[in-house]
Symmetry: C2
């Protein structure tokens, strides 16, 4: 068996194929890997692991460049991963999603389309990584995130990643002091709606809010890492079972059936 | 302090407010609780934890009946939970989502809008339950699921539920032999697209597939419970961190920054 010299990486995102984040990610990864981009044609931020089943999906080859083939799809980030792995004749060695414009740390892992795509790659048994930069500005500098993504890709190519776990990587704005392996910070978004009026003066509600950190002093968390200048890597399990609570709820098996 | 005799339950779903599943759930739960329904105006199946931020949300009070107030919203299941808990002047004691038309067992917990809503209730610190019936047919019998939901609501009202964990409850079609506390079955959907033609004879892809069970012999799993006639209750953690892998990846902190 001839060992492949370079991995094949499936790249997608939730900001759409035109976003600077995915173009930067591809520009960096193509130095060490062959790339198939399969990305949404329009922004799909906050789409989590949503799948499209009521309407049909379409995709087409948009660009065929050296080491980088780019496909565009009318679906969600998860649709992109599913479609690429079901209908293209490719066997990627890993999946990268991003670089997202904005943080996906803490509980945002649950709402993130970027992480939806990484989780889907993981469901397919592939080492998968979601990359996000904590900077929403138009002129955000994605280069440091591109360097980190490349290092992670090479590390995974060398060591692999256990099945059932993907990585949620968030990179702070500005200078990056180092890397921290971190946990998902406990907390939630608060004060989540801005009430406004539409053209007919009817009430409408726009999502917004701030993150309420419930463990500000825990230096193990991704939010702590980011606010101290470190890129945070959270290993994310796709099996959400709470095995401890399974034991504690065992008595329900009898008590729920008796009347 | 006067103890409340009946809990207040926030009810939502992903099939939309008209679905028989949510109407049955409400009909059962209102015997033991006061109910606020805050549900999507249109089907939102497969929406996972998607949130709406690019367009505005609207809601209105649709019906005000004894013990049951019903609001309708133009958003996703998670939008419904967020909006109800942010803008209505209510303090529910728990959140129920469903009864979903179709299974949300195994990896479907990740794609499910029903479970998206339950996970959101859990993020808010409320005991939360997603209910699903493994029957897609129009004349599906939701009554047994309604009975089980009521028993679970009373059990939670009595015992509570730990923070950070919600319940994914799936009820088999036909006679229910009992209840099993179960784990999320490992596996994935396979053969996921049906290729068809649109009116102009262009290729389109429709989501479908079958569930490929990777642990058919594991009697601890939700798929095993369901195929043996038991309702399955999986405790689902909203903290997805793999703490074991955190330790094993610690060496990356040094190795990813060198050179």
């Amino acid at each position: 068996m001839i060992e492949k010299k370079r991995p094949l990486i499936l790249v997608t995102n939730d900001d759409g194929f035109r976003a600077r984040g995915i173009r930067t990610l591809t520009a960096y990864l193509k130095d060490v890997a062959d790339i198939v981009v399969f990305a949404p044609e329009s922004p799909q931020s906050g789409m989590s692991s949503a799948i499209t089943h009521i309407s049909p999906l379409r995709y087409f080859l948009y660009k065929d460049e050296e080491n980088v083939k780019t496909y565009i799809c009318n679906g969600t980030p998860v649709d992109c991963v599913k479609l690429a792995l079901n209908v293209l004749d490719i066997k990627p060695d890993m999946v990268f999603a991003g670089i997202n414009h904005g943080s996906n740390a803490a509980v945002s892992v649950i709402y993130s389309g970027t992480m939806g795509a990484a989780i889907e790659g993981c469901i397919f048994g592939l080492p998968s990584v979601g990359m996000s930069l904590c900077d929403f500005s138009n002129d955000a500098d994605f280069s440091e995130s591109g360097v980190i993504a490349t290092k992670i890709a090479l590390k995974i190519w060398e060591e692999g990643l256990p099945k059932g776990v993907c990585l949620n990587v968030n990179v702070p704005k500005g200078e990056v002091k180092g890397i921290q392996i971190a946990s998902q910070t406990k907390g939630k978004w608060s004060n989540e709606y801005y009430k406004a009026k539409d053209g007919a003066q009817r009430d409408v509600f726009w999502l917004r809010g701030y993150f309420d950190n419930w463990e500000e002093d825990n230096s193990e968390t991704d939010e702590w890492a980011l606010s101290n200048g470190y890129a945070a890597i959270v290993p994310v399990k796709i099996n959400m079972t709470d095995y401890d609570l399974m034991k504690n709820l065992k008595h329900w098996e009898h008590e729920l059936v008796k009347d």
